[in-house]
Symmetry: C2
Subunit: 634 residues, 2 copies
């Protein structure tokens, strides 16, 4: 398919936008009129600029409030159209978007609409131009594609066709399936936009909250599938009005846009194949990629440290029950183990970890995930424009497939049953670990507020993860938003946390990392009190939870006093879901003021992350940051 994007979807001046669009690999661009008006080069210069960059101008848009206008205004409106036709010819594009009239004084008489649009199509046709007619969700008389197709069919002019925009249909809960019945050659253009489902005015929703396919909640494969079935082979274009995108760096954002189209195409292809859609002769115009791998949890986490912080972190982990299981044969790299958990501390100079340490301080620099087939997983990531990574591998060292995560850290793709450590590490003959931590339950990240959508798209497309709904949580110094990513089997869970305010725990993490970074790592166990008691005895600093929290637990649940005292003594937080699932969890103080650890026990199928307790944890962290000192004056 020809992949395209509207200039309004990106920030910057027109040349900045066009460059970003070309660099991302789009084939074409919709010129949004205002971007042209505000630019001080002529339309001819823009035409040349696009030609030099190798992108087509797929559409000029919008032309508003034409059909059914007040009758006395028709000549003036035709004159206005001719001026814009001049401009289109200078630009070198033959298609203009005419959106349905939204004026209160416009008329809805069908014959008038048909006649007006036929007249406009004749004028356009005389110059070899074409009209794409689109239903705005807030059009005064025309707001569905069914109405548009009815009018286009009656006008019956070769230079007039249907223009589809997913937002205008899906925001009104329209059913897109009848699109399949429109002849593909009468669909002139297709615009795709996703959005979160919001109960608000549709015009405001459209102008500020659209997002790239896969970032919102619309069923976009369900919209694109009937378009492919219709036989449409024209451009697939993104038209995204989004407040954040208007300020985001255009190159990175355009790259996300292209990735989102590929993702949409893959999902649409799967949908059509599922439906055994024999009536889709042109399925092959859709992007195809190796299917996603199956996952089997996290193989290891690698921390970037230097010698002294490495020793310090190792000591922390040993107090949590980890044991040193091996040393790298040739590098300053240590392996710690407990249960199914492997943690690598990398203090090797001139390594990837070292440069990561230089940039971010002590931090998580790599995550290894277990996959069924690493070669195919890597091929998929690369097809989605992921950046593969090849490290410095010594003689007789294992080389692992890797791709860069959005924060620059590495995601290793490790084959199940591969001997990951035997080649590189001198392993200790089996040592019993000191604790009962079993596996990595989840790994929470702190991100800059404006990068959440980009991360979600990265994990959805390259790794085929799913994203849970966003939850909003109060930090004493502002709100924190959290959205969890999961592998489909839930063996890898990655809650992403953002905050738009300066003094929250998330913002403190961001500033200490100078960028995104791991916020905490949760370890699963079968007996939380055994683990916490061992940790406490070993001197692990636990996050102190106020007694008032336990008084409230007493009011809410039917616990006996002894059990409550035990929870309070060990600073264990408690949550219960509607299905009776239970969560027990406890937090450590942060390591070097950065990431911290959580010990967690899930009972009866509890699936969440203890959102009900995040506020008390954030308040305790705020107090801990301020040194736990009571306010001077009180």
């Amino acid at each position: 398919m020809q992949r395209s994007i509207a200039t309004v979807s990106l920030s910057g001046t027109l040349p900045e936008k066009l460059e970003a669009i070309a660099a991302a690999g789009f084939d074409g661009v919709e010129i949004f009129e205002n971007d042209l008006l505000y630019y001080d080069g002529s339309p001819r210069e823009i035409k040349q600029m696009c030609a030099d960059l190798g992108i087509d101008i797929t559409l000029f848009q919008p032309f508003r409030d034409f059909e059914g206008c007040r009758r006395d205004r028709l000549p003036r409106n035709l004159e206005r159209a001719e001026r814009k036709f001049d401009l289109m010819q200078e630009l070198g594009t033959d298609l203009v978007l005419v959106c349905s009239n939204a004026l209160a004084d416009s008329v809805g008489d069908e014959q008038i609409l048909v006649d007006d649009l036929r007249l406009l199509a004749e004028r356009a046709g005389a110059r070899g131009l074409r009209i794409g007619y689109e239903a705005l969700a807030w059009g005064r008389h025309v707001n569905t594609y069914q109405q548009v197709w009815n009018i286009v069919r009656q006008a019956d002019h070769p230079n007039l066709g249907v223009l589809l925009d997913s937002f205008h249909t899906l925001s009104l809960k329209g059913d897109p399936r009848a699109i399949a019945d429109i002849p593909g050659e009468k669909i002139f253009f297709v615009q795709m936009a996703d959005a979160p489902i919001l109960a608000m005015d549709v015009l405001e929703w459209s102008r500020h909250f659209r997002c790239f396919p896969g970032q919102g909640e619309f069923d976009l494969p369900g919209f694109l599938a009937p378009i492919i079935q219709s036989g449409y082979t024209g451009p697939l274009s993104l038209e995204i009005f989004n407040d954040g995108f208007r300020a985001a760096p255009p190159r990175a954002n355009a790259a996300d846009g292209l990735r989102s189209l590929l993702y949409l195409e893959e999902k649409t292809r799967a949908r059509l194949q599922q439906q055994h859609a024999t009536a889709a002769p042109n399925l092959d115009i859709l992007f195809a990629t190796p299917p996603a791998s199956e996952y089997d949890g996290i193989e290891f986490l690698e921390f970037a440290v230097d010698e002294s912080l490495g020793a310090k972190l190792a000591h922390w982990l040993e107090r949590l029950g980890f044991v040193k299981a091996g040393e790298h044969r040739s590098k300053n790299v240590t392996l710690l183990r407990q249960g199914d958990i492997n943690l690598i501390l990398n203090a090797e100079p001139y390594s990837f970890a070292h440069s990561f340490f230089e940039a971010h301080g002590p931090s998580l620099c790599a995550t290894a995930v277990r996959v069924k087939d690493s070669a195919s997983a890597l091929a998929r990531a690369v097809a989605y424009k992921g950046q593969p990574y090849r490290g410095l591998v010594g003689p007789n060292e294992l080389e692992l497939a890797a791709v860069r995560a959005p924060d620059g850290s590495l995601i290793y793709l490790v084959d199940e049953h591969a001997d990951v450590y035997g080649t590189d590490f001198r392993l200790q003959p089996s040592v019993a670990s000191g604790g009962g931590l079993k596996r990595i339950d989840h790994m929470a990240m702190a991100l800059p507020a404006d990068s959440l959508d980009s991360w979600v798209l990265f994990y959805k497309s390259l790794l085929d993860f799913e994203a849970d709904d966003e939850v909003v949580l109060p930090d004493p110094y502002g709100l924190v938003k959290s959205r969890a990513l999961r592998s489909r089997c839930s063996s890898i869970r990655l809650p992403l946390n953002i905050s738009e305010n300066r003094n929250t725990a998330i913002s403190h993490a961001l500033s200490s990392y100078r960028g995104s970074g791991v916020h905490h790592i949760a370890f699963d166990c079968d007996d939380i009190f055994a683990e916490v008691s061992r940790a406490k005895e070993a001197g692990v600093p636990l996050l102190d939870i106020p007694l008032n929290y336990y008084d409230d637990l007493a009011a809410r649940f039917d616990f006996d006093d002894e059990f409550l005292s035990k929870l309070a003594y060990y600073n264990v937080l408690y949550d219960r879901d509607a299905q009776g699932g239970e969560l027990f969890h406890v937090y450590t103080e942060p390591f070097e003021g950065r990431f911290f650890f959580e010990i967690i026990q899930r009972k009866n199928g509890y699936m969440g992350y203890g959102a009900a307790n995040v506020a008390v944890r954030l308040a305790a962290m705020a107090k801990s940051r301020s040194g736990g000192v009571r306010h001077a004056k009180l």
Copy 2:
């Protein structure tokens, strides 16, 4: 009235909140339960803290989902209530907010609701505690104050009363007038919150978008008036859930909160007086202040400069047609004049202007407004907790009443017909000015995004200004929001501009000022082409507008080519409103990369600020900032 605020309205730890509340001058505080749960001191310690700070605990809240609960849960719920009663007694407060049950499985049978609440009131009464019953807008069965009063009346227990919250009534477009018929002593508590009118889910609206009275769009005097008429004399309390407030500095925000209550009281008193409300015996419990002054435009603007920048700015202004009209008798201060416009350039060392210059660079450090009675205007500002300013006044110099604006600059309150300049300045014998600029049309400010509400409240309360609706405008690097403040006569107009994004024109202004500052100053004239042609000839650098803009004007309006060429030649922007009002305006390049000037001509009663042209102006400014250099690769 006893003035109170809920802890949830402010950011910070509980002690930080309580201190801010006391410092702002509130008499009481509602303890929001979560603030208590997350605090590691006991309820007794909080009681002591409030006593030390001199504030009462007016309310403990909320107690949820009690009345009409599933019958098997009633004993457990009563047990829960007793636990909270324990806590209230430790806190030393006797009133708890019980909000209407929002659970899907709650029952709506009126007799059950009455019985449940009577039972709870009996339990409370046995301990000398009281229940305030509130209708949540999203309550399952009870969501109006009329229902609440009906239930409270039937339960007929001295320890059960009505709790009113403006948001829950006004968000559902409820009519508050019948509140006047509830006996005042059966209203136990009143919570006030304003909000912008938003077409969205009421629960989300309530939890994230409430604001202080006067900052939103609800008719709050219309809500408070019937409460006063009922004979209610209890606390007036703010309960504001607002994402911004959760991150704002608590002291400044609490001060805004108190100011908003005073403003609400003044407006309510006026409303009741207007209604000749003889049935309001306790009108005097409402805040009273000198009435607002009438305004007659801006007397002068004062710029903080140093010697060399002062000379440079004077030269700029002279090219715009200003003439030097006087020098200060003893200070390094110059007066420039044109029409009714007086501009003062202050380069005096050891002056207020000098310290302002040190902090912000060349900037506007004072605005003098003409008022009918400066003494009364100052008294009003001080009553609203404005900070009066007394400068260093030399012998035989005029002393002007002044108050600090939110950005630390000064607002002088100057009596009409006062001889402002004769005392201090050696005035030139009348010199004809070189141009036809007549008066200051408006003065646009750039503010940090989170301070807009605070500014609006400042001007509404201290100066009795009005605020227009917010408009959203696209800068190439993000959205800009603008809200104009006006004196009621419109002789002083002050559009306030904010942007949440880093690279917009507004953000550049903020970073150059290290804070808020003037963005541009618009001068009115009768013949824009005469003024612009003179300015152009004098070498004033005008902001270059792309030709494409004029092609679009040609398509939209019926101008002849000669007139269009003239607009384009002089870079004049054009707008026309629905009533045929017309605006012509032109911008200069910024002075020292900071503020710039606008020349403006309004025709046929055009009232706006040319919002339709702001995007093209912002794009031109972005290009001008980047030095007007075309993108290297193109």
